[in-house]
């Protein structure tokens, strides 16, 4: 079972985990990314490539399902204007055992950061700036290749 959504609205972690539990796994795991509040960010704007985004996330979910033998994958990514503390992204997985569920969450969020067509623009002190990619994100994604 694969569920992918790109949406402006907030998402429900409970709803995602309940949906995965219906697949009858022994384990569900999840990762939620939030807008960081620690460095003066007032707003985060998320832009994406609509015709490509959901297909890319679906391919990542299929890759995770095949690699880790998952019973289910949920990926939700928000777009539009967000503020510190807002949830941005959710990946959740269901598997027979914990290791596959946990590893698959790490795989999905690491690869999503480098492989999905989203761009973040931060606003601080009224000044907007496009976020630059981090080498650490490339390294995190590379460990799954």
């Amino acid at each position: 079972m694969i569920v992918v959504s790109v949406q402006r609205e907030p998402f429900s972690l409970d709803a995602a985990l309940s949906r995965l539990a219906m697949a009858g796994p022994g384990a569900v795991a999840s990762f939620t990314g939030l807008v960081r509040r620690d460095d003066g960010v007032e707003e985060l704007l998320l832009e994406h490539y609509p015709a490509m985004t959901e297909a890319t996330l679906h391919q990542l979910a299929e890759a995770a399902q095949a690699r880790f033998g998952l019973a289910g994958v949920v990926i939700v990514h928000r777009i539009g204007a967000l503020v510190p503390g807002d949830p941005i992204v959710l990946v959740a997985t269901a598997a027979a055992h914990r290791q596959a569920a946990l590893d698959a969450c790490a795989f999905l969020i690491d690869r999503l950061k480098t492989d999905a067509p989203f761009w973040k623009r931060e606003q601080r002190g009224g000044v907007a700036r496009w976020v630059a990619p981090r080498a650490a994100d490339d390294q995190a994604a590379d460990r799954w290749r």
Binding site: G33, L46, E47, H48, Y49, A51, M52, A55, H77, I88, V89, I109, L112, K113, T114, D115, A116, P117, F118, W119, K120, R121, W130, V131, A132, P133, D137
Partner: protein, 84 residues
């Protein structure tokens, strides 16, 4: 004719989110296209000043700048992605 889509600071510098262009036959790769587009306006020149900062997709699949354009219907040009 090929449809071009621009995202993030590429879109902002050019001032367009998309346009349709008809590049000459000698424009064979995405890198050639970027070089050709550079001369279209000051905004294009600003967006394409440093091709090392650009990433691309052909028909909604990521492609290196050396990729050939042959048969492409939609080409997107954008900065490195920063989602998640």
């Amino acid at each position: 004719m090929v449809r071009l889509l621009y995202f993030a600071w590429v879109r902002e510098r050019i001032g367009l989110d998309e346009e349709v262009v008809d590049p000459p036959a000698e424009v064979a790769t995405i890198a050639d296209l970027v070089g050709w587009l550079h001369g279209r306006s000051a905004g294009h020149a600003a967006a394409f000043a440093d091709p090392a900062q650009l990433r691309a997709a052909i028909d909604q699949r990521f492609a290196p700048l050396a990729a050939p354009l042959a048969g492409a219907r939609e080409i997107a040009l954008f900065p490195p992605v920063t989602g998640g």
